[in-house]
């Protein structure tokens, strides 16, 4: 047997008399690992044919969209004097990613969303790409230096997940889009269309 054999080097355990353990014993370690791998694979195989959870992302996206529309910390018009929110009336000054990221603050969210506000139905129809799967939406400033028409609950994660949602993969680890459209009023008195897309990991 070669002296530089790695297995022998691993197996060598000097005792007082310089005895060497058999390499066969070292082979028991990968043996054990393979046994565990087989058990784990069997477990996941069994798990794949048993229903252990339900997907609630569809309902959750609707709830979270309502959260942004209805909450005092969301983007709807707030009368600070009366401490009253006007759901359905969007305040463009509050329609910001900073505001939504504060409302949906979470270390590692399993669902993230993007809200796109288009001033007219024509803009909305032109911006069909706002719906996923499709091309990335172009977030534009409504006025020079004014508020942008896009707001995210977690922009970094949304942009990371968007390509996976467009691919439309299935199974564990895939990302699915949940879209909805709401017709709203704005604080300026003009109507608008708010299009929401939430992305959730399976």
């Amino acid at each position: 047997m070669k002296k530089n054999n790695w297995m022998l080097l691993l197996a060598r355990q000097k005792k007082g008399d310089g005895g060497i353990l058999s390499p066969k014993m070292v082979l028991l370690i990968p043996d054990l690992l393979f046994t565990v791998v087989v058990i784990v694979i069997t477990y996941f195989f069994v798990l794949s044919i048993i229903l252990t959870k339900t997907s609630v992302s569809d309902v959750e996206s609707t709830i979270l969209a309502s959260y942004a529309h209805n909450s005092k910390e969301g983007f709807s018009l707030l009368d600070a004097k009366l401490d009253r929110v006007y759901p359905g009336v969007v305040d463009p000054a509050r329609f910001t990613t900073v505001n939504l990221e504060s409302l949906f603050a979470k270390e590692n969210p399993a669902i993230v969303g993007r809200f796109v506000k288009n001033q007219t139905i024509i803009d909305h129809l032109r911006q069909q790409e706002a719906k996923l799967p499709g091309e990335p939406v172009r977030c534009i400033a409504t006025e020079a230096g004014g508020p942008v028409n896009c707001a995210y609950t977690n922009q970094k994660k949304f942009e990371r997940w968007a390509p996976y949602a467009r691919v439309g993969g299935k199974g564990e680890g895939s990302v699915k889009p949940y879209a909805e459209v709401r017709y709203v009023d704005t604080a300026g008195g003009k109507g608008a269309v708010v299009e929401t897309v939430f992305l959730a990991a399976s």
């Binding site: 355990q13 014993m25 043996d31 959870k53 709830i63 949906f104």
Partner: protein, 161 residues
Amino acid sequence: MLRSGLGKRGDTTVEMGFFMIALIIAAVVAGSFIQKIVSDINGETFEKNYIARDIALTIDVVYAAPGDVEFTYSLKSFKLDVDIRESKVDVKKNVCKKNELPGVYNFFGDREDALKGIIVKKDSGPAPMLIVFSKKGGEVTMKADGNAALHEAISDVCGKA
């Protein structure tokens, strides 16, 4: 006694020792997986995940409500312990069992006033466990009703050990 092998008999004895250790570790791993598979097959995992999701979504709805709201959530015939903290709902058969896998789901409320508490069954009677979620003046609170008791910390339920 194991001998580090010089001769063939020593090698075989040590090999047997290693084989036994491997067998014990494999048995422990297999045991825990079998326990989980049994729990999956009899629907326990599904129930726990279902209740965790249902309660988490209920909390999201209460937070999302534009005005004041009070909602009583009934666990109906389920006798499960619910641990709500750090924007997470954990559902277990027994909250004190550390090795029991919980049904887990997150809700959005990652802030200082996020809900916190452990709801456990009072007794094994037929009355349903009720959790009352309230939102008043923007503050969300919860209390237990029916066959449920609310505790602030896990040590209140399971003791210090």
